[in-house]
Assembly symmetry: D2
Homo-oligomer: 358 residues x 4
């Protein structure tokens, strides 16, 4: 079973390699008759684009997407939406010395071990470049969710290295140079990033995502629980090493009394007094905001010398040249939102199919 798709009813299949002629996505199952906001897609792609700040890769990606099918006079037809994004702004020759050498922390070795062959240019299939089509698809999912339920999805950085945000929620994300929520730490972070950039190093971070207005009922027990599907989507994203929802790892320290959310009725709706669960109980949304976090490792592409081996088993020293993200978590923010949107839209359609809502 190939693993290039996410979602079962709202199904997103991503194809392409970093340095091929183009990359793209086919979105199956989109509800028909939905007027697509193309500017909305463009806006999301721009948020992900390298070069959006000094601390992310400066590869020139125009990300001029083309919609090749599934739209008729601006509305979705219910048939597959094929989106193509040409690859531009790269230099294949800059990768030549990596053809036979395994970069530490990257997927070079595992692709070679699995397939016996790999497109090594720019990391090929394993490149973060492939998150561009994910963002395009996520933008459509987000538009649908917003129209149907007023769902809003906001991700932001709450930690870079050892610097943690001191506030809850998105805070000043919109004004931040690095999607960070806590304005008071911005300067400290920029100093950290400058230093790392100068030394050719990189740093990890944590992205939190808060989703509002999801109605109760999304998520399928036993195995396609809403939180399980979010975990799968998020952990599958490049560089993510951890996922937690609600109290997350902190819940391990707490007693049942401390961690339970008591129910109450507010304006006729069943809610919880607190939201330690992060909006999901038993794998099904409970109507409270969904709050999860993803831990990103530092990009493994650093220009400091590292020891490694090549295809033939020879020891090598490697220095990765070129512009790379100092902190990939920053640029991952819109991708996290896109993945969340895809998972939620899929569960919206699944819920509607089985339970006949609306």
């Amino acid at each position: 079973m190939p693993g290039d798709s996410i979602g079962k009813m709202f199904k997103v299949c991503v194809w392409g390699e970093s340095h091929g002629p183009s990359i793209g996505v086919v979105i199956e199952g989109c509800p028909p008759g939905f007027e697509l906001d193309l500017d909305g897609i463009r806006k999301e792609l721009n948020r992900r684009k390298p070069g959006s700040s000094a601390y992310v890769s400066s590869r020139l990606e125009q990300d001029q997407f083309k919609i090749l099918s599934g739209l008729y006079r601006g509305e979705t037809t219910g048939t597959p939406i094929s989106i193509l994004i040409p690859n531009q702004g790269f230099n294949k020759s800059s990768y030549d010395e990596l053809e036979n050498t395994y970069r530490p922390g990257h997927a070079d070795y595992t692709y070679q071990a699995k397939y016996g062959i790999r497109d090594f240019y720019g990391g090929g299939r394993s490149s973060a470049r492939l998150t561009a089509p994910v963002v395009a698809a996520g933008s459509i999912a987000r538009q649908i969710l917003h129209r149907e339920y007023g769902v809003t999805i906001l991700a932001y950085i709450t930690q870079i290295g050892r610097i943690q945000s001191g506030i809850d929620g998105p805070g000043h994300r919109a004004q931040s140079n690095c999607n960070f929520s806590d304005e008071s730490k911005e300067r400290e972070i920029l100093t950290l990033l400058e230093g790392l950039k100068a030394s050719g190093n990189s740093i990890g971070g944590v992205v939190e995502c808060m989703i509002s207005n999801v109605p109760p009922g999304f998520g399928e027990p036993l195995f396609d629980k809403l939180d399980a599907d979010l975990a799968s989507a998020i952990v599958g994203l490049n560089a993510v090493k951890g996922f937690e929802i609600g109290n997350g790892f902190n819940a391990a320290e707490l007693t049942g009394k401390e961690n339970n959310d008591e129910f109450l009725v507010e304006q006729g709706e069943t809610q919880t007094v607190t939201n330690r669960s992060g909006g999901v109980l038993g794998g099904i949304s409970n109507g409270m905001p969904i709050v999860f976090r993803a831990a990103f490792k530092a990009t493994p592409s650093i220009s400091m010398a590292q020891s490694t081996v090549d295809n033939s088993g020879n020891k090598k020293e490697i220095v990765i040249v070129g512009d790379h993200d100092v902190c990939v978590a920053i640029r991952a923010v819109p991708v996290v939102e896109a993945l969340a949107a895809i998972v939620l839209c899929d569960h919206f359609l699944r819920y509607r199919g089985q339970c006949g809502v609306k």
Copy 2:
């Protein structure tokens, strides 16, 4: 799309409710001609069974499983293996007062909101009782992986409440009363658990799982990555609120230089000097031990008074009587192993199908 199955080629479908006549599992795609170790299945089920220590639920579950299909003279036939486990040792009437009341931290409300109906006895579909068939299926997956590659899967508790293990790996798990890895903390933990039990409270914990001898090549980019599928399986398990692999959330604090694993060749095999990645790079196993952790919340079933509401929106006070796990993470240890085995066995078959290994 229903969500009662896990796996695509080694497909495990779990059915049943806590207090129905029986529960069970149908395993599709099992390789043929494999001699099944029924005692092995029994042993795993016994490890999960309530009453195995003083700190877990004492419900009397015999877990006498019956294999109804897919075996011929002790060998798998390649056709579905149907396993049935009768439900016994419960008292339906003890749940009557919960019919219309939502227990905090449980799935009562979300099932009602989604389906408009729920089997409330013992939590019905959302009960941890449903992990018994998962363990049975996982035992078969584990046997296959062990025969094919010598894979071993070992989970153990590394944290209960604020008490953390001070050692790496499984440690004295086998001798522990609570699957804890660090003998020096055992007494402290037992004291904690006794106190919580006495007060009718419960506590969270962390389970770590270490998997050895997985060959490089398991896992499908882009979306069915090995770590993503593990995350999905584990976060889908009752009470899990977080998942991390390798350095996990700690990776957010580290630089690329600190977090990368350099490659070397040992005895002709490409390995990494360190294992900060936890055995997975780019979503594909790299041959190093796979190490992940799951954060469990405290069981929400506590006998302390809690405020909640009922189906009709009336405020209620609830005290949950009956025997419950003081720390569900303890009994989840074999379930975590089972889920890991299922995910790995699935990826073994998928790898073999596409790449024709062996």
Copy 3:
């Protein structure tokens, strides 16, 4: 990918072997809150049961089904419905000589070639016995479709050997001893069947199925077209060698002018003047009756001497003893209906999920 399931949203997984302790089915995705008519299921199982007439197998199958999950106070809960049917009334020893010998026209050899092992008793997994759980699941699908849309599904025999029905539609099926539509041919057929039975031979036949009140809109282009899914379900049924819809193979002889159905509007609904398409255009139901036919071969179990080989490649002569259906098509009638119901119910939910109908 295992192939034991049919349907994507209304998902039916059938497990078991002819002579195991029991067989069964797990139905995932059933809409919640639906009051199940258990007598309706029983009635359908009785129609399929051997011994229902002199011309079908007389194996004593009680088909006492048990519903083990997914029902709460008579209503579906939206969670998997597990149905178990004990196997009874057979004599394992009567099959002993078949252990190593391949019966012509049966799946003995192909199972052995594929899996290297097979449960040969009663044909094991390939036995028509496995259609009992299909009928149980189909009965639930049929009930749902009837409640939602008033859908009726009627199959009947239109041909046995060279004897063809002279009338359209179900005719006197209900009164027939062999589900035949044309009363005027009944005596001729019974004589044919008696003769074949006496000589230990068997005969093929054609089943037609007419489905009314399916609304327009069921079916997914490009590959899960409604007619394609019906074809898959029906050709997958034991002994079926052909499927056709509407004009079917006869359409090959006709011109476009002769075969097209012109549109008209009747009582505000778009309909076709004729129904040569059989109710499906472009893979989507058009609101007209769906009419398809299945060609059944004669059961290959005949008591006349046949030449064959055994596992070791030795030439053998084989005479299959025991009671067998003279014409399996007769008993397949309720199974064809059940499969059609499952396919339609699946497409009902898929349609509702994507397009939000009702």
Copy 4:
């Protein structure tokens, strides 16, 4: 669940509309390290191309395909192969009058009824134009099967209107102007086609497909049987109204004695004396040639006057102008082969995954 894909391990997702900027296909799960024969793909596309004879549509389709991903130095990488085929040579304005009118025999009405919107240009999504990407994907499947097992797949016309081939097998297909197997009928057919073309009418036909060198073991009981999957693929093809394998509908007339294939051993291999089953027993290939037939209706696009209705329920008379296939079955021959190749390649990988062959 969207229905734009075929196959589970060798997964082919087709997107696009007749008159959009391009159409295409994403192939997931292709085995890695396979040297692709691009000329082979081109050759297959040319066989399908309109204008290849006087009796097929003369729309100028260049079918210049581009492979956008999944290839590295001419070899497959195991990642998705994305193929794009630009749409050219059409005139959108020629369809304007069809915007609101339902063509008899076409999918105009059913798409409108299902989705509430449709891209009507050239039939949009339901156009036979979408078989071009299917042929491209099928060519890859065919190449893999040929390399692995020497599989050959040959389809040919055995009937057009009432004119039937008098010979078995592909006969003089290669020399025929219309893929017909029987040279002696060629002139009669050409006369028939000329007459129909002159009168603006069209005609149905039958395509037979013969597949050699498929090893025993392909196909999954109970529901993804090899013949069931072939039936699904073929009936899903535009204009197909019937499918039969081996003796097919003729089997309904025969006794068990007449229809069974006796086994024998030839050169160490278990074979059948006859091949009435068409190469599949119990849903699994038995090593004999696979032989199936598909009944095609006449293209519903005829330039004779037909009565129909429009979106608003008004009665209309319609005359479909433009060049159309006189007999679509002729041009469907390479598409039937492509679909068969996709189904077989999928089952090859599924077999290898579960059973570990080779």
